[in-house]
């Protein structure tokens, strides 16, 4: 069994340099790699391109990287929860590529799966289609979209083993599994790291082949954006 374990987040992100392309798993603040983001904030990085469905909030997640001006460009589908983001975008300080969520997910999957391009109906007739190849199949129009990869992909799982196998929990799975496949180097932080052989092979969401480094994270805040409750 190939062992992927590193000591902590600082060691995991040791070779991330400025101007890299990074992917971050998570949907909103759910399932984001909190420890890796904290470790990246400790480094003196600029000019990053960040691929993430959302851009965090003003004071948490990728929002903190935006505030520190580490990010040159965001590739996301929805950024509505972040005022600093909106400010940097409208002022032209930040480049933004907004992509339909399903197209973003599929482009990342394609990148990891060796598929350079595919066709999707999402965005036909909209500004998303500008400059893209259009084609008709069976009477319906589609856009050609390309695969996406990253220098580093940061993913957060619930459980992981020393061979890099990952299991996610609830809807914290979201973009994490595809991003794990699309990083040249994929770094996984997990709530619980177990020895290889402890996880049921039939329950694994991300096979270890995709993970180059893994560590057990700590101090998960798991901030909730919209706390909604029912009465008993």
């Amino acid at each position: 069994m190939i062992t992927k374990t590193v000591k902590n987040a600082a060691e995991a992100v040791r070779d991330v340099v400025s101007d890299s392309v990074l992917m971050f798993g998570g949907f909103g603040l759910c399932g984001i790699p909190e420890n890796c983001i904290q470790a990246l904030l400790q480094k003196d990085l600029t000019g990053l391109t960040c691929i993430s469905n959302n851009a965090g909030v003003d004071d948490f997640g990728i929002g903190l990287m935006l505030k520190k001006r580490m990010v040159k460009k965001m590739i996301s589908s929805y950024v509505g929860e972040n005022a600093e983001f909106e400010r940097q975008l409208l002022s032209g300080e930040l480049e933004v590529d907004l992509i339909p969520q399903g197209t973003l997910a599929e482009r990342i999957r394609a990148g990891g799966a060796g598929i350079p391009a595919f066709f999707t109906p999402a965005g036909v007739g909209t500004e998303v289609a500008e400059g893209k190849e259009m084609r008709e199949f069976d009477g319906k129009m589609y856009l050609m979209e390309k695969g996406l990869r990253a220098d580093f992909a940061f993913v957060k799982a619930w459980k992981g083993d020393t061979a890099g196998n990952l299991i996610f929990k609830g809807t914290a799975r979201n973009f994490n599994p595809m991003m794990a496949t699309a990083g040249k180097i994929t770094i996984a932080e997990v709530e619980e790291l177990v020895p290889a052989g402890s996880l049921d092979p039939n329950h694994i969401h991300t096979p270890g082949i995709y993970v180059q480094r893994i560590f057990q994270g700590g101090d998960y805040e798991k901030r909730i954006e919209q706390r909604t409750v029912s009465k008993e």
Binding site: G28, E86, P100, A122, F168, S230
Partner: protein, 219 residues
């Protein structure tokens, strides 16, 4: 005029037994509360869940379980979890029967705008472009007019488009309307106390009014 709850209640009547349904943020989320109990439907959350349950009680809150509006939720019996690529594979592949979402504008051709106001608001399209490009049946929940009284049911959308020729039905605070395959809105029902004339005057796009238009009834 319908309030938000009534719009949700009226849309809930469109739901059919056995449907898989995606509910957008805002009024569409409320629809879940009014689906008749004798119908068996499954709610899809595009962040990776089939089978959204009720909001959790305080002791059941799980930060790892949210809907597409980032609200804490629970899982219904028989639910399934998956990743975002698989979720949109499901949506794009036409497996979700009904999509209910909000809109800023809808055109008489069924075009919808709901993701951007140039120079003012850029939240992003999220999953809306995938949903409207893929679903067979799309129902829009919206206000008939903007705050300054401008019709939002237009000949052409003025805002950036989310999807073209996709909206099938609209429920506003004033009326229920179909979008006709050949273009144009067809008035089906009016809100309690709202006259046909008011709806006509507040609909900029081509509006077809045939025969008697019934008034909606709520319990």
């Amino acid at each position: 005029m319908l309030d938000k709850t009534q719009i949700a209640k009226r849309i809930a009547r469109e739901v059919k037994n056995g449907q898989y349904i995606n509910l957008g943020i805002g009024i569409p989320t409320l629809v879940a509360n009014y689906i008749p109990e004798n119908l068996e439907v499954v709610l899809q959350s595009e962040n990776g869940l089939l089978g959204i349950g009720p909001f959790p009680t305080e002791d059941k809150i799980d930060p790892d379980l949210i809907n597409a509006g980032k609200q804490t939720i629970t899982m219904a019996k028989g639910s399934a979890l998956f990743n975002s690529a698989d979720s949109f594979a499901m949506i794009r592949g036409g497996h979700v029967h009904l999509t209910i979402l909000g809109a800023m504008e809808v055109s008489e051709k069924g075009d919808i705008s709901n993701w951007k106001i140039p120079g003012k608001m850029v939240k992003g399209m999220g999953g809306a472009m995938d949903l409207v490009a893929s679903a067979d049946n799309i129902i829009v929940a919206m206000q008939h007019c903007s705050k300054d009284g401008q019709s939002k049911l237009l000949k052409e959308c003025s805002l950036p488009i989310t999807g073209i020729n996709c909206v099938k039905k609209i429920v506003t605070d004033l009326a229920v309307l179909d979008v006709l395959p050949e273009g144009g809105f067809k008035l089906l029902e009016r809100a309690p106390g709202v006259s046909v004339e008011e709806i006509v005057s507040k609909t900029e796009g081509r509006l077809l009014v045939e025969g008697e238009i019934p008034e909606m009834v709520f319990d």
